[in-house]
Symmetry: C3
Subunit: 480 residues, 3 copies
């Protein structure tokens, strides 16, 4: 007979706070001071189409929670549940006959594996969303799965359950998407042309026309860039001019930032002649992997140059080896939970960029990492020195309670909070945004309560830091 | 006058629990629900000879606790106590005249240095073993050392103090040893031929006939393999067949797993012709270090192939630079506490193996690490995606309170507990097994109590997770 | 209306303690047992000139707290406050017209940015110094900045506010400086020739005549060495003899240790002919970067050889990429907060040195790191085995509450406390020494209180370990 542990569980309002009961009470007071602040969402992957139509509705509970979320389906996949059984669509040309199309069965499969998410951030977000958006307080089980499905489906169909209404209900103050350099931003145009006054802005992410010079679809990407920009891209000069043109267009459309992914933060300054020679090899389909690596490194410096001129805040997200699972990539494509981090070196790799622009008065560069060992060792000392640098919040696998606690512990002593930029939800799942921000705000206040109880900060500082971490830093850093 | 701190020390039943008094009470309730579960010991280095003879007795307290335990003698060595004074035997051909043979003096030297183990896991295991197995509650000191020696010696001589009786008393459900590919498993045969029904199984560890192709004793090892397998090993094909034969024999003898050590997790697929050419250079004594590195990487993939066919669970223990101290290795041989970890890269190194077998339905590969920075960065994302992968428990230097806490904090959020495999005691010291499992169970329950108090999990989950971590996961992962 | 959190803040005597109220009480009892022990300062960068004149006085609050402290001005610089505005002097030949010379304005700028230090160790040291040395209990703000300046200035001018009097008031038992191999130690001679009996000793740091063989000022440094040693340095033999001569002189002047910085802990044994050839290329201005790297690695082994003969304790501080900001280095010179750590490998790099001297009975080598991931992975296993090795305390960015907590958590389980060397304040700021030692002692006692409450150690051990960490280990390790 196991004794009940219910008495040890906190009331819901105190969840995610740690330590002694005094610390929890202090954390709660701090949290309550920021709980209702608007949400600044300066980096994410929500599809702008959701806001382009006033009456957009989500298709089903499985579509809403599961099918597009690689955090979810990769976990079931890791335990042997095939992606097909989870409704993940296959690449064109692949046999799609085994892809489950019955959303109720996909949901049932998920419910049967719900225990896999015990103690994971995905588990917490799902539970909090079910509670906050759908009023579901019982734990999902195989036996209640279909009833829960019904209740979610009913709510999804309600007239007020549109992305625009949710945006308002969530208290979002601004939300940015992430868009290819070759994107026409048609959905953003539709939003701006509508009478809705939500603030949805694009972010300029040129990876596909910058990083993959040695890949088979490079020429096609450059052709897309030529077409959308209307410029001649026969050489490196035209290519740069086209990119500058696209940035100007994004800025007109409200963008305040760019974003750049790369396997490493390698930077290098090529001479114009070298850059052109490599670019020409790319166009001719003759570029090597080393060409691509050097060109990417060079273009990061070039993008810093452009940002120093047009004022777009630059973000760098390095460190993921994308599409690590060859079979999954070949059948299902990118973003299937098979992106795996590796060890990074910012200190040496960023030096060429910093030699040129490290103290530039109108450049801001926000660094993210997937290698936590770089946080205290490299990022905090770099951002605690160079005026252009700021450190982005815990990213991806680290957007979690431990990831946040490590971030506060590893970054703040050397960099101080003012060299960080608050929170980014970085999600494709629009409806998870409030839960993610609430988790961040709770853990930030828990951290501050700990500092207060140790006499490291006083209450005036604690309240000011809570506000900055929850709202002010993100707003200021991205100019939103 | 220093005030007594006795009031702050927990009662013994609450040791190793952390946090507030509520958290300790919750941890204790969870621990009590798993404290009496049988012990699954799926990876270790206990000598099977202990169980081959019904009347086996341990020689002396020094032999029981100190002389074979590199965790102990390396610590005294680091503070200037020579290995000879600790009774460590020298290699054949070395002058053994200075090796202490008086076990009472060895024990006295240990007692004089017992403070070195303050705050170390070895100190906790020793204290708990002295208490639980020998009823010794006072702290070992230079002045009580000989009295304590007498009490231990008396107990060691008792008729019921045999490995077989201890196995039963400890509640071991299954225990596996680690055995060379060329081992005849005579002790295992003796155990199985006896009327004792303890479940002692071998594990297939072929390192010596796989890793060291460029070493002087390679030919000798291959000759041993030839002799024990009775097969012609003139070429790579015969070599593979011989290994497959040995695996089949181990499986007949009850093995459910293989184990592989390597300096790095490097893998590579060689063509049959390349593999044969390198193998031939090895036989001819002409292999280079690079040959050995590539051959080891290739054989890891080949072992994965064999495991996918015969179902033996594959374990990989990479990351130790063995025999780092040249002088100690030359005089005393291997396993003398001079194996030092280094930084690892799983993400790139395992890709060739995973490209071939990452989603194979009948393969399981358990990964261990000595580089904690890989836990959250690489192992958790890999195991949280690839169906064949599981993460082994904290190993060696990390089989400790902090090592376990870091493991829970770094692995579980991304991988979930079901991509881990519970606990391995991984010890040569049979009698330390209950203390090691108890430490793991206590720290696991302490972690779960923390999650519960933070509202991350409910009590139903906490009890289920405690059972899985203490028992279920290990049993399932190794098929025991 | 935000509720007051004052009740949650500890009284000053309990600051920096963590956990439950029981743990805080235990920590306080432990701390009180070591709070008044003398301060051992075995590694630091205080200018010996402070003690050479009996009547030395500090110039101003800005000079005392800000202008020489790169921990302070790099933080303001990172937020866009130019170094000139902080009074940092420029290199010879640079236009100095913009360097602020009004110390009151520098102080005001600092006060306006004081919030940047929230939650940082610099913030804690400053607050504690203002309190303990100047009786200032209110928080520094832009509006009270000039009043606070006046109060500090008044105290600085007091007759008893000299370094010698402070040394006595602080309870310093011994303090060592860090001095170039070519230093004449004139200030140390003046101290020893005076009637003051403070114990101020030099430390031999030969980096400039060892590390930079490929740099433009190498010949000049060697010429300085020739001049100060009076020896012919036409070849490697004379160079070694000159270094040995300088070591002997430092030892006569009371030195007990040497110190060595290097970008990595790389070591290598060159043959005498190779060493001489590289040395000659250096003298001729023809050495390559690889020459410099190999020569530095060789000289670390050679310095270990010398230490094994003359008994000077050897310290190694690797891992910082110095002067990372090209523009700042070019205008302001070295030590401007632009030194950035990178990933290290001790395991492979130290092997050549350890192969020669790892068990030498009269050598001690203390290792420091700026890469925390090496602490548990490499340093603790190395120091927990090799007799000559000890681990230095958390250094630079890690001389902080989290740095210390990580150090205890990562190092002690494997190495034990007796393979560590207590605390080094490692500061240029003499007056910050008591605050730094108090922080260390508080965090050490907090850690021990945690072990006690978890039943890992008993109270006898806790008191003994507190004494060792606060005083005994440093004194013993450096022979002070």
């Amino acid at each position: 007979m196991k004794p009940s542990l219910r008495n040890y569980m906190p009331e819901r309002a105190d969840r995610y706070f740690s330590g002694s009961s005094e610390q929890r009470r202090a954390a709660r007071a701090l949290f309550e001071s920021v709980a209702d602040l608007p949400l600044i969402c300066p980096h994410g992957h929500v599809d702008p189409q959701l806001f382009a139509e006033a009456a957009y509705h989500f298709e089903s509970p499985a579509e809403f929670f599961l099918i597009p979320d690689h955090y979810v389906f990769r976990m079931l996949y890791s335990q042997g549940v095939r992606l097909e059984a989870q409704g993940v669509s296959v690449n064109e040309g692949e046999d799609a006959s085994e892809v489950e199309t019955d959303h109720r069965r996909i949901w049932q499969t998920f419910a049967e594996n719900y225990h896999l998410f015990q103690g994971t951030p995905t588990g917490l977000w799902l539970r909090d969303e079910l509670h906050d958006l759908f009023g579901i307080t019982e734990k999902l089980t195989p036996s209640n799965a279909q009833t829960v499905y019904d209740r979610i489906a009913e709510r999804l169909a309600a007239p007020d359950f549109t992305p625009r209404k949710l945006y308002e209900q969530f208290g979002v103050e601004a939300l940015t998407t992430t868009d290819a350099a070759t994107d026409t931003l048609e959905h953003h145009r539709a939003i701006q042309a509508s009478d809705w006054d939500g603030r949805i802005f694009p972010t300029f992410r040129p990876d596909k026309v910058v990083n993959d010079l040695d890949q088979p679809d490079w020429q096609e990407q450059i052709e897309l860039l030529r077409a959308v920009s209307g410029m001649d891209i026969g050489g490196y000069g035209g290519y740069i001019a086209a990119l500058e043109g696209r940035r100007a267009f994004f800025k007109e459309m409200g963008a305040t930032a760019t974003d750049h992914a790369a396997e490493t933060p390698y930077t290098e300054v090529l001479s114009p002649a070298e850059a052109d020679a490599i670019f020409q090899r790319g166009l001719a389909g003759q570029a090597s992997a080393d060409d691509a690596r050097r060109f990417t490194g060079h273009m990061l410096v070039e993008m810093a140059r452009m940002s120093s001129e047009d004022g777009l805040v630059m973000q760098l997200h390095p460190g993921s080896i994308r599409n690590h699972n060859r079979a999954v990539f070949s059948r299902f494509g990118a973003d299937k939970g098979a992106d795996i981090p590796h060890a990074l070196d910012f200190t040496r790799n960023l030096k060429p960029l910093l030699d040129q622009f490290g103290s530039h008065p109108s450049l801001r560069l926000i660094l993210f990492t997937l290698d936590e060992s770089t946080s205290a060792r490299e990022l905090a000392p770099l951002a605690g020195h160079y005026p252009i640098l700021r450190i982005g919040p815990p990213w991806w696998f680290y957007d979690s309670i431990n990831g946040m606690r490590n971030f506060f512990a590893q970054v703040m002593e050397t960099a101080g909070i003012y060299n960080t930029v608050g929170f980014n939800d970085d999600t494709r799942a629009f409806a998870s945004i409030p839960s993610r921000h609430e988790l961040w705000r709770r853990i930030a206040c828990d951290w501050l309560a700990g500092l207060l109880l140790e006499g490291q900060i006083d209450d005036e500082d604690a309240y000011a830091m809570a506000h900055a971490l929850a709202y002010g830093l993100a707003k200021e850093a991205y100019g939103l």
